[in-house]
Amino acid sequence: MESILKLQNVTKHFGGLVAVNNVSFEIEKGEILGLIGPNGAGKTTLTNLISGIHWVNEGKIEFEGNDITLLPTHKRCHLGIARTFQISRPLKNMTVVENVMVGALFGKKSNLKLARREAEEICNQIGLEKLDTHFDKITVLDIKKIELARAMATNPRLIFLDEVMSGLNMDETRHMIETVRKIRNTGVTVCIIEHVMSVIRELTERVIVLDRGQIIAEGPYSEVSAQHNVISAYLGEDA
């Protein structure tokens, strides 16, 4: 398999706290990869490093063979790396469709008319209605969907979904799982960060388990979830 993203010995510390410690892994083209681990394991920091919100202290990040370690965030987006935010960050001064248009306008570089049409199409696929409402009149699920739609509008080749399922009920989760499958089937590589294990079990072909900034296990979910060190990372040593 060809890899789309390659991390080599990536380290990030905030002052004395080492958030990501010497992490190396690859994401394969076309897969759905799960990134799991207990709270504070460094999953979101890793996403921030890959999307360029934070700079790495050491190590190297390659995307489709190009070194992107020093590339600013917006250029990584232009190359095809998209992400959603764990705590949803709707652009509060815009309507639903305008939020999504930002992705199409600047990620994909469409013109206004085209961006509007693309945004409507993506909202349609993801099941977002009431396109012209302001964010303060929509539900949590819709805000989650905006995150996803806005990221998809940038026309990514690799997308990071940071806890898109949290706070959703069963039906909504079902719907989200189907949506993620559809996204992968259009040829986008997906890396999903999730605490809901049933989602990870159902969606992913491979998972990487992080604990205290380091990779402690890697493989199919069924194998990894049985490993002693993974269980103790989640539940403590005595479990």
């Binding site: 999307s51 965030t73 987006c77 998209a82 960050r89 815009m94 305008e98 306008l105």
Partner: protein, 308 residues
Amino acid sequence: MKTIKYSVILLLLIAAILLPIFTDAYFISVAITILTFMTLSLSWDMMLRTGQLSFGTAGFFGLGGYTAVIISADLGVDLFVSIIIGGLVAGGIAFVLGIAILRLREIYFAITTLALASVFSVVIRNLHKITGGPSGKIVFNTLFDYDSTKIYWLMLGIALGTIVISELFKRTRIHFAVDSIRADEVVAKSHGVDIFKYLIFVFVVTSMIQGVVGAAYALQYGFVSPESTFSPHYLLLPISMALVGGIYSTIGPIVGAIILGLSSEYLKLVMPYGHLIIYGVIIVLVVLFIPRGFYGTIRDFISERKHR
């Protein structure tokens, strides 16, 4: 609905152009002042839409004024060309400074831009040979030889040009860049917005407008001095006008400039020594009770009723 909107705009435009024919010299001079501050107010608001509170308005206004007077007095440059060069110099300096200061945010950016006007005026005060130092500088031929009707049309033209630029900013991708930067920079850049590029662009364009206004204003009187040209008036009044009218819009600063411009003239006549107190009270009341300004409040009221 659209035809009504466009006919109203057309009527207002014709009224604005024909205004000097129907009014006396006093009213024309009031109108010129209002147009001057309206343009500054609008340019300040355009920068504010990026989320950056700039206090540099008076600084770039003064730079434009000084540039125009110096090059027309010493180099004999045509007055209209001087106005354009005044804008270009202000824009150029904004570009160079912007590379450094647009890395700052919020209060740090605001304070730095506030310092700019002082720095400019201190430098100019000490460059005696070029700027005339503390006593200022004079150019003997003034714009249209004090013909206030023509000056009115010139200022109207500059104001209309700024209105057009502001509307272009509102109707193109610039609007989406600027609004997303204001709402959440991390989201903006994660979705491909080159934040720095757009901030520099808006900062340079608005500074150029301020430079042009400063140049046109200085050449009306043919005089610049560090105190009068860099006066905090050219910062505080435009900000007040935008706040009173309603920020983040084109119409807001226009409405605010007309309301505050007319009321300050009227108050000056009624109570020559106390008018600034009333003026201040108006601004405080607006900020307290209709923080979105006159236009902003009416607009939101109408759109809320529509959606009900």
